[in-house]
């Protein structure tokens, strides 16, 4: 893990990159990183995030600044701007059931080609997907999902990059921290090694590439 500034971290993200962003309706989202992505105008992004949050909050800021070209998400109903951009064909949106979304990312981070899920069998979600029967039950083959970058937000990060999360701000963060080539983390608190007990580390340090410094 390397501790770097916000500016340096976001400068590494090329225009048009695929980026996973942790958070659920903007809760547990690395807001400082997103503000910097907007400031550096990193556009054409392939965004993978549970939802589109709301305008002005979380990944909602990326839609405010029209930086998203493609979105993979489970729900965008609470962001009218993202909906408008989808209906105007300014962004391509792939809507995925939430349990499938997280399992595809988990598969991507765990070296699996995909998962078999009963969710979506017999619905629009099944279109174009392989249906596989196991012990007489139908499942959909849902393929693994990875990104070039994961932007993750933690409650605690120690000097090595071990991470712990708070309450419902954990959500997709630890799963995404497994599934990207480069993992960039902001933390509410950067603490000395040992403050997070081994049993309380959720994301082990070797998964973290960059920790954003304070200030």
């Amino acid at each position: 893990m390397k501790a770097i500034s916000l500016e340096e971290a976001v400068a590494m993200i090329p225009v048009g990159a695929s980026v996973m962003v942790g958070g659920f309706m903007g809760v547990g989202t690395p807001e400082r990183l997103l503000d910097e992505v907007v400031r550096q105008k990193k556009g054409g992004l392939s965004l993978i995030c549970n939802d589109a949050a709301i305008p002005g909050k979380g990944v909602g800021k990326l839609f405010d600044a029209a930086l998203v070209a493609r979105l993979t998400a489970t729900h965008i109903g609470l962001n009218a701007k993202a909906q408008q951009q989808m209906l105007a064909n300014q962004i391509t949106v792939d809507l995925v059931p939430q349990g499938t979304f997280v399992e595809r990312i988990r598969a991507g981070g765990c070296g699996l080609g995909g998962v078999l899920t009963p969710t979506g069998v017999g619905t629009l979600v099944a279109q174009g997907k392989r249906e596989i029967e196991v012990d007489g039950k139908p499942f959909l083959l849902e393929t693994a999902l990875r990104a070039q970058f994961a932007l993750v937000h933690a409650f605690l990060a120690d000097y090595l990059g071990n991470l712990a999360y708070a309450l419902t701000s954990r959500n997709f963060n630890p799963v995404m921290a497994m599934a990207a080539d480069t993992v960039i983390v902001t933390a509410e608190n950067i603490v000395p090694i040992g403050v997070i007990a081994p049993d309380h580390v959720v994301t082990p340090a070797p998964l973290v590439d960059y920790l954003i410094t304070n200030g």
Binding site: H75, Q83, L95, P97, Q98, G99, R170
Partner: protein
């Protein structure tokens, strides 16, 4: 009584001590208000919490403790938190005893449509498809009709949420079950006759010899 409160009170009667329950947005959220305090029900919020508590007092909300709509909530003693993979493992894996969801349409065989209106409303399915596929019991809590049109239809014209039928529908007029794969009128709301329910319902309903009034 307000139609939504009739529905919420009746659904609350379906919950048992020890149940792990997931409530959807809208009318289902109201169900928690009518669960007797001596009933130990675990409420899950799919953004990563079991043991959701009421909205905190003014000034006590914390930005990392929210419901699936991003609104501040509290946590009860004994609550637990987890990531989204665990949360949907609980849902899809059959560990959630009851889910209560809103609906746009339910058809004569219990198929639910509740996630999109093509060309009009495409918000995304969120967790709805996983909940209907995986929860042990699926209860739909919705108004019987919208703009004068029955929401209990012969066949869903809107895209289905799951191929799996729901177990129970509770509306402001009736309780309808699907035990044998066919819509069956189980109860009528206070002051509502069987004839009124039939007239307000597009789907054919089986009617038993004895249809009691809803206990709310």
């Amino acid at each position: 009584m307000d139609p939504q409160i009739i529905i919420a009170r009746r659904v609350a009667k379906e919950l048992r001590s020890g149940d792990l329950v997931n409530l959807g947005i809208g009318i289902p959220t109201l169900v928690a208000n009518y669960v007797p305090t001596d009933l130990k029900v675990f409420f899950q919020s799919e953004n990563g919490l079991i043991g959701t508590g009421p909205i905190p007092e003014q000034g006590l909300a914390h930005p990392t403790l929210t419901d699936a709509g991003g609104r501040p909530i509290s946590a009860l003693p004994g609550a637990s938190t987890f990531d989204s993979a665990m949360s949907f493992g609980l849902i899809r894996g059959g560990h959630v005893d009851v889910t209560v969801l809103g609906g746009l349409q339910v058809d004569a065989h219990g198929h639910l449509a509740n996630w999109m209106i093509p060309g009009k409303m495409v918000p995304g399915m969120g967790g709805a498809m996983d909940l209907v596929s995986g929860a042990k019991r699926v209860i739909v809590a919705m108004q019987h009709a919208a703009k004068g049109k029955s929401k209990i239809v012969a066949k869903c014209s809107l895209p289905l949420t799951s191929a799996r039928p729901v177990n129970l529908v509770v509306t402001d007029m009736a309780v309808i079950g699907f035990a044998d794969g066919t819509a069956t009128l189980l109860e009528t709301a206070p002051g509502v006759t069987i004839g009124e329910v039939m007239a307000a319902t597009e789907a054919d309903l089986l009617v038993g010899d004895h249809v009691p009034e809803m206990m709310i």
